[in-house]
């Protein structure tokens, strides 16, 4: 479903600020795989995700999604195949527009936009049904401005909008990091449900090791632009946070340098 072949990316090459963000990353995901990526700041997690989304072009290597070479495909074209939820709850929705209008925009992945009436009775009913699965009462607020929703509600809406059109790949970029713990567990549970319901191939970046272990069937640990450790489905079942930390120490010969990763439960 997703294949990365020998991806290299260096920022500011040949200057004193040169930073190797990704170094020879090759991986592949089967349909329905759910991989969580952990790593300290600057490990290359976000660069990898941006590479998948098409916001960044690799220096070398290529990206394949669903049997197609998408390396040179610009972000908005590639987005046909990709659903994305951002860290900032404000990023995934348009605040000045209503819930149903936002839902309308997310339909853009599956069809061309017409000069017909935007939200018809039929689509409204469909949106209402979809929103009711979130179980946070958004189905009764179809005409509310999204800017009036709380961060958790907005993130739940973003998640729904990214998934219900069933993209080939779902990218989750620390999508619970900006929420308080109770909202985090709401979003995590929704993520589990929606990914399962639509059988989505998912890539999730997180800072929280427990989350990374709890979710998905695969796990990659990144450091200095490489995937230094990976756990498959079997290995992941009995993985613990201390396991991960000691793995890191064994491989790198030093402690994991991220207080966020350590402190976060």
């Amino acid at each position: 479903m997703l294949q990365l072949n020998n991806i290299h990316k260096t920022f500011y090459p040949n200057t004193p600020d040169e930073r190797r963000a990704l170094h020879d990353v090759s991986q592949s995901l089967e349909p329905g795989d759910f991989v969580t990526i952990i790593g300290s700041n600057g490990a290359g997690k976000s660069t990898l995700l941006n590479m998948l989304a098409g916001t960044l072009l690799p220096d070398e290597g290529d990206v394949w999604i669903d049997g197609k070479d998408v390396t040179a495909l610009p972000e908005e074209k590639r987005a046909k195949l990709i659903g994305r939820v951002f860290q900032n709850p404000l990023s995934g929705t348009a605040p000045g527009m209503t819930i149903e209008e936002n839902m309308m925009i997310s339909l853009g992945r599956t069809k061309r936009r017409s000069l017909f009436k935007g939200v018809t009775k039929k689509t409204r009913e469909r949106f209402r049904e979809l929103l009711s699965t979130l179980e946070i009462g958004l189905e009764n607020r179809l005409n509310s401005k999204v800017g009036l929703l709380s961060g958790g509600e907005r993130q739940a809406l973003s998640l729904l909008m990214a998934t219900f059109t069933e993209p080939k790949i779902l990218l989750l970029d620390e999508h619970t990091a900006a929420l308080d713990p109770s909202k985090q567990s709401l979003i995590i549970n929704l993520t589990k449900d929606l990914v399962k319901k639509h059988k989505l191939t998912t890539v999730m970046v997180t800072h929280q090791m427990e989350q990374a272990i709890d979710l998905g069937n695969r796990l990659w640990m990144m450091d200095e632009g490489s995937i230094i450790f990976e756990a498959n489905e079997e290995r992941k079942k009995d993985l613990t946070v201390p396991d991960l930390l000691s793995e890191f120490e064994n491989i790198r010969g030093r402690r994991m340098a991220s207080d966020r990763a350590l402190l976060a439960k």
């Binding site: 989304a53 972000e75 908005e76 074209k77 590639r78 987005a79 046909k80 994305r84 404000l90 990023s91 995934g92 929705t93 348009a94 605040p95 000045g96 527009m97 209008e101 936002n102 309308m104 925009i105 997310s106 339909l107 853009g108 992945r109 936009r113 017409s114 000069l115 017909f116 009436k117 935007g118 939200v119 401005k145 909008m161």
Partner: protein, 336 residues
Amino acid sequence: MIHALYGAVESGLIYAIMALGVYISFRILDFPDLTVDGSFVTGGAVAAVMIVGGTNPVIATLAGAIAGLLAGCVTGLLHTKGNINPLLAGILMMIALYSVNLRIMGQPNIPMLNETTLFSVLSSWWQSLHLDAIFIAPFEWIGITDFAPDTFYIIVSMIVIALIVKKLLDFFLRTEAGITLRATGDNQSMVKSFSTNTNLYIVAGMGISNALVGLSGALVVQHNGFADVNLGVGMIIIGLASVIIGEVLFGKDKIVRMTLAVILGSIVYRVIYSLALRVDFLEASDMKLITAIIVIAALVVPNMLEKSKAKRQFKKSKQAALKRKEKGEVQHASTE
């Protein structure tokens, strides 16, 4: 006096179409577009040249709108493909269009007093139907014939044209494409992440915005009876003034309500304009200053009111807390 007001309402309605264009760029796309100063004249110039050349005024007016559309698309391309800051892209187009407009017109001023314009056609059509008699009837009935305008055809036809433009715009902004256009102005990266070429929407939106500006310019030159290369100076500020006045006085969240508010805002602006001209120490040349002051006031005053309201509330709650405290102490003392 009252007749000056009718004139103000007439111009308000004609310039309202330009203000609707500014509303699209300024509010919906969040693109402060200075192209307006140029594209307004471009629309007028194209219409004037064609009318003088003997073209049907309806076609000439629509051609003015198309000229505006093209100018707006170029501004949109400068911003999206050329990566030029929106303000700068607009300024560049405004300057470039000044020369283009002179080329189109061939001379700085085109008089068209005896030409067949949209308004002269409407006027003869109106008179042949004797419609004024119907409209003046209520005035006669109340006995205020003196307060009636000489003729109703401009007001009525402009109300019809402005409402048609408003209705079309309302409809468009609620289509799938229209919703996407609005979302592009609201959160561009989000729209992009749902596989939409936002650049296309920005270019198209700027085109539609300036098409309305060009249409308004084409109507204004026919209403004035001449086209002038300097007609557009400060037009963007007049547009902004109309949008902001409309928002402050009549604005609501709904699109249907906002487009109406912009039209009313334009009329209110023209009424203020004509009243200001009647003040003795003000001259016509002071109008640009007054317009700027109106816009500044409309931008600043609501903010200040909000702040002072918050301040008053804070003081009030503080005083209430103080009173409670005093009372509490008194009670405390009495129990001792």
